[in-house]
């Protein structure tokens, strides 16, 4: 009898030990990531780990999540950062057209993009690649986006083809995400919930336009280079291990402003607008110019067209 009790006690102690160990491992997992390094954001509140998917949160929960984020950014960057949740406008579907005859490869759009979208600054993360190609050819594999900043552009015999997220109507990145952390908004913009992303990089692999960027390290974002005007789904500061991408400057365009790349383009090569408005400039371009899209055969249906004079 006593022997039996002893065995029972031992079993109880063991089970408690295992339980305790499990709890410790669980707590440890929250405090550090899988690589064993300390957590990237020690200021992260518990609530942030347990919040739901952005589209599944109630308005109150979204409000709480935004307040949590703003508190964290305040302690992390010592700056007031406003996280907006502006909803998409009704009867709006964003589209972009780019005149490759006008584009001269100045890379002004690339720089303007990094100034408003709070990307990693060391090394610079850029959403737009301006490809330099030989005239008369269209081999993207032989295109270069590392062309020198010391030589004048347009270089003789070359033309320039900026590539960014094409906001596909049939986005392969969304289809491939195992946790639905990326989706297409009603205004056509493919967005990422940085709190829901697990960093598997499946979407990066699926994108045929090399439009997605991964934060391999905790982004280096100096205080003076932060744009405090942010949106939950676009340019709020990211963290290590999440995917990010161009959102046509959703924080600006949902307020009626132009995307930063359009505003910065010195040649006026970029035409941005509402595809559902028959009087918009983008519709005129699509109806009157010869346009093409990249890799149309993949049926991704990008909302980004190229045209020439």
């Amino acid at each position: 009898m006593t022997k039996n009790k002893q065995i029972q006690d031992k079993a109880k102690r063991l089970s408690l030990k295992i339980l305790g160990l499990g709890a410790a491992v669980g707590a440890g997992a929250l405090a550090s990531d899988s690589t064993g390094y300390p957590a990237t954001n020690p200021e992260k509140e518990w609530g942030e780990h347990f919040q739901s998917h952005y589209t599944k949160m109630s308005p109150e929960e979204v409000k709480e999540a935004v307040a949590r984020l703003e508190r964290r950014y305040k302690s992390q960057y010592d700056k007031e950062i406003k996280v907006a949740t502006t909803p998409p406008k009704e009867h709006v579907l964003f589209g972009y057209a780019l005149n490759i005859t006008r584009c001269k490869g100045y890379r002004e759009c690339v720089k303007a993009c990094t100034e408003v979208n709070n990307q990693d600054k060391n090394p610079n993360m850029e959403y737009i690649r301006v490809l330099e190609l030989d005239r008369g050819t269209f081999n993207l594999e032989e295109a270069s986006h590392y062309y020198s900043a010391e030589k004048e552009v347009p270089a003789p015999g070359k033309f320039y083809l900026p590539i960014q997220c094409h906001q596909c109507e049939n986005p392969p990145c969304v289809a491939t995400c195992p946790v639905e952390a990326t989706w297409k908004e009603p205004d056509g913009i493919v967005v990422v919930d940085y709190n829901w992303c697990i960093g598997c990089r499946m979407c990066m692999n699926a994108c045929p336009y090399w439009a997605r960027r991964f934060n391999w390290r905790n982004p280096n974002l100096p205080k003076d280079k932060i744009n405090p005007d942010t949106h939950y789904l676009s340019n709020r500061p990211r963290e290590k291990g999440v995917m990010e991408k161009c959102t046509f400057c959703l924080q600006r365009t949902r307020k009626g402003e132009m995307p930063a790349c359009q505003a910065a383009c010195p040649t006026g090569a970029r035409v941005f607008g509402n595809l559902l408005d028959p009087k918009s400039e983008i519709r005129w371009v699509l109806e009157n110019k010869t346009v093409f899209r990249l890799k149309e055969d993949l049926n991704t249906q990008p909302k980004f067209w190229y045209f020439s004079d």
């Binding site: 005239r135 986006h145 590392y146 030589k151 040649t267």
Partner: protein
Amino acid sequence: MHKWILLGLLLLLPPNLGALDLSHIPSTRSNPEDFSPAPQNIDPLSLIKQAPPFVVPDRTEKLLTYPCTGCHTQGIIKANPKIRPLQMMHQEINLVHGKGRFWCTTCHSTYERDNLTSLKGQPIGFNQAYLLCGQCHQHRLREFIYGAHGKRIGSWEENRTLLNCTECHNPHVPQIKPRKPRSAPAVRAGLRPMKPPIQEHPPFWPSNLDDYQRH
């Protein structure tokens, strides 16, 4: 046996199949107006009336020597339509536009000094310079007013604000010169820059390439 059946079927077909009557199909060739050439001189004003409305930011505030009547008042400095090297003033202006076909008074009004002038002699304000440019560059003007050429500023949804031609192009030397681009993208941590592609065979269409390089 089969060929007899086939022949029988052919005999059953209506006799006029061989000579189809095409008169009911409308032909564009019957109307000579369809072949008239496209109008060559589109009036810029009529073109603009068809397009969605837009505004252009004021240009005169940015002009250093505006108003022109500050110096060019009738009687003091009269307009001299003679083509000559400028000596006293405006020596900084290098008129390349038109390659020698134009003189100041082609575009600047001789009589209303604070205005530009159309080829017909109608005054055009400095803020509407696109009307002047559109006299020759009609296709550009058409693309400009519909938004395919030039730059729109401000909002994408509200009233359209377009930058005037002269905001980007110097009207005296309109071609934009090449310049240095912004810095090249940084190579991601842990990666090395790509090597230039090795050409294993000559380009597929050498003659095509030559054509492009020549123009």
